[in-house]
């Protein structure tokens, strides 16, 4: 994999979030017209409340996807770049890569803060949005910048 490809994977998630936001906003603005003209099958009998909930959580949903894409990149590097066949937990993986690549502590800390918050969201279903999408993308991008250009 090329490092640029890893960046592009994260950028595609960002683009999907933007598209989803736009689509949700258009549907919300045209709710009455769309729901009166659509058949129950097409509309899936969705309530405006469902739509609002989806809209309110859309950034959080995509941060989780971004995190998964970031972790997949690191695991790809671990397997194909470092040549290890083990499957360490994420905290060990981050720490190990930080040491191997001589990363600065600030880069690791930024990702670890997001990881801890993400664990809280997943395991306790906390919906407090402590980080926004751009700050997560930036932290992950900076971490990836320490990996080799190609592996």
């Amino acid at each position: 994999m090329m490092r640029d490809q890893a960046y592009q994977i994260l950028a595609r998630v960002r683009d999907e979030l933007e598209t989803a936001r736009f689509a949700l906003s258009v549907v919300a603005q045209n709710w009455d017209r769309l729901t009166t003209s659509a058949s129950p099958i097409t509309a899936r009998a969705i309530a405006i409340g469902n739509l609002r909930l989806c809209r309110d959580h859309i950034e959080l949903t995509y941060i989780m996807r971004l995190f998964a894409a970031f972790e997949a990149t690191l695991r790809d590097y671990w397997l194909n770049g470092v040549g290890r066949k083990t499957e360490p937990d994420l905290i060990s993986l981050l720490t190990s890569l930080t040491g191997r690549q001589n990363m600065d502590a600030e880069t690791l800390a930024a990702v670890n803060n997001i990881r801890e918050w993400r664990n809280q969201v997943i395991h306790r279903d906390m919906r407090l949005q402590q980080f926004d999408f751009p700050s997560c993308a930036r932290a992950f991008g900076l971490f990836i910048s320490w990996l080799p250009i190609e592996w």
Binding site: D4, Y7, L10, A11, R14, E18, F22, P134, A137, R138, F140, G141, L142, I144, S145
Partner: protein, 130 residues
């Protein structure tokens, strides 16, 4: 340029020429900053235009990489869009064509009211990479 156009070729040709001109402009501005510029070709598929190729740039500036990434002619709310994105920060602005000029849109969907010129580009590059 290769194309299998399904709609008005003048519109597609005009768009491709605009992107070529933008790429050339940015290439010149980047080189004046001693930044390394690599030009590639991006293949784009648009439902209304078919498949065509336009130039894309990878600029190695101080602090990271800038990618001039053409997106499409047919976009909501504009007459063409080219992204300027930065790695590793993943910051981005969109250059949206409207009223025969490039408007700089941030990811917050707020336009930057700066003219599109070399000074703006160089400042923008620093901000995107910061």
């Amino acid at each position: 340029m290769t194309q299998t156009a399904k709609s008005s070729p003048s519109s597609l040709q005009e768009w491709v020429a605009l992107v070529q001109s933008l790429a050339k402009q940015i290439q010149g501005w980047s080189q004046s900053q001693q930044w390394k510029v690599e030009e590639g070709q991006k293949t784009i598929h648009e439902d209304m235009l078919g498949v065509y190729t336009v130039p894309e740039l990878r600029i190695t500036a101080s602090g990271g990489i800038l990618h001039l990434n053409p997106i499409a002619l047919h976009v909501a709310g504009g007459d063409g869009r080219v992204d300027l994105e930065a790695f590793p920060t993943l910051n981005r602005v969109k250059l949206v064509r409207s009223h025969n000029q490039w408007t700089i849109m941030t990811d917050s969907n707020v336009p930057l009211r700066d003219p599109w010129n070399q000074e703006t580009f160089v400042r923008l590059a620093a901000d995107l990479l910061n």
